[in-house]
Amino acid sequence: MMRALGRWLRHRLMAERATLVDAFRVRLPDPASYARLRQVYADGGVVQVCPLEPTPGVAQRSARVLLQLDGDVMLSVPRDFGAHAQDAALVTRLQSAVGAELQTLQSSLPYNYAALLAVILRVVLLGMGAFGATSSGDALVDWRQTLARIDGLWQVPPATIMAALAAVWHTVGIAWPFLLTASAAVGFSFGRALRLGLMSGGRGIIALALRSRH
């Protein structure tokens, strides 16, 4: 009886661990599209420009779309927009290019919330660094240092998370009877209580690890 209970508990714990490891596994987004995401944030938005066909008297014509990070859009067109038959079609193509850019950004995001959190954290930090600096003089060095720091931070998760998970796992291995008792006391299922404990502990350790590296 006790052996069966032990087997069941071990089985449940292994299942919990597998789920947890899967939840925390950092699946890196496609590097090219992630680089684009980073560039968009550093540029302060998506900018697309397309030349328009010349009209009598105006040789250089172009349309420009700026999609800012807060969702505002500014479309700039020449004063004689619509004078050439191709104008509307070219601007439609321009808008499609911005749409495709959004699609790229979307596909660059991972589906795993821990990795997504890492991307958001990294992009927000990058944005602060990029906006706080400029592209000249010592500021460029600052900007590069910010990138390097964030890139360094990006390298942390796989190894540190697994180490953190191992630490949590060992801690829980000692603490699980208390967790079990506590979960029974508040009417939680064993699995849910264990998961909550593991996740909050894991998050805390990861946060500490990231902060120490930062």
């Binding site: 900018v47 990070l69 505002d72 589906y111 795993n112 906006f131």
Partner: protein
Amino acid sequence: MADFFVIARNLLTLEINTVLKDGMSSQKMPDLEDAVIDVMEEYCRFLCQYLPADAPDLPFVATPPDALTPDGLTRLRTIALNLRQQSSTREDIKPILSRIQRNCDQMKDFVIAPVSRAKTLRLPAEQAILLRKIWEIGTETVVMQTVVQIDGDVVTRIQPGHQTTADTALHAAHRQSVEVSFRYWQFLVDTLSRFAGAMVRDLLR
């Protein structure tokens, strides 16, 4: 994180502008300090066109500015306000004067010390975004503007003279810009909901 929340709050309102601008280039916004001075120079040039002939030159126009001071902003604001209140001022430039006045007020938040091209200006994200908007729009005329609120209100303004069928191509282009803005908004909401959904699902499974 404060500026992150300001950006998040700005997401509750989408603003889509269509402006008419000739001689565009694909030039990106320059460094922040250069952008501030560019904006001020453009405002000066614009205001000088409408100042009385006997009015003294604005300091930025008389000599190329090597430094912009908070007092300069206050002066530009006052000139824009005075021009706007004069009955002889053309109606079509009053919105631009109003914009200059408002933007000078907003820029006072970060032009608290003299700004020069040689001195790096550092701004938090929300002010950099604000400066970018100000720099991009300059003194151009906004012919169509759509404001979308999170509660579903959508307001579109069209400058008189651009509501006719002759501007069908312009209307279509503006509509596409609104769609792009919506798609971006959906992209962000989708990302956040995916994030929150995955976390909640994992916690409650």
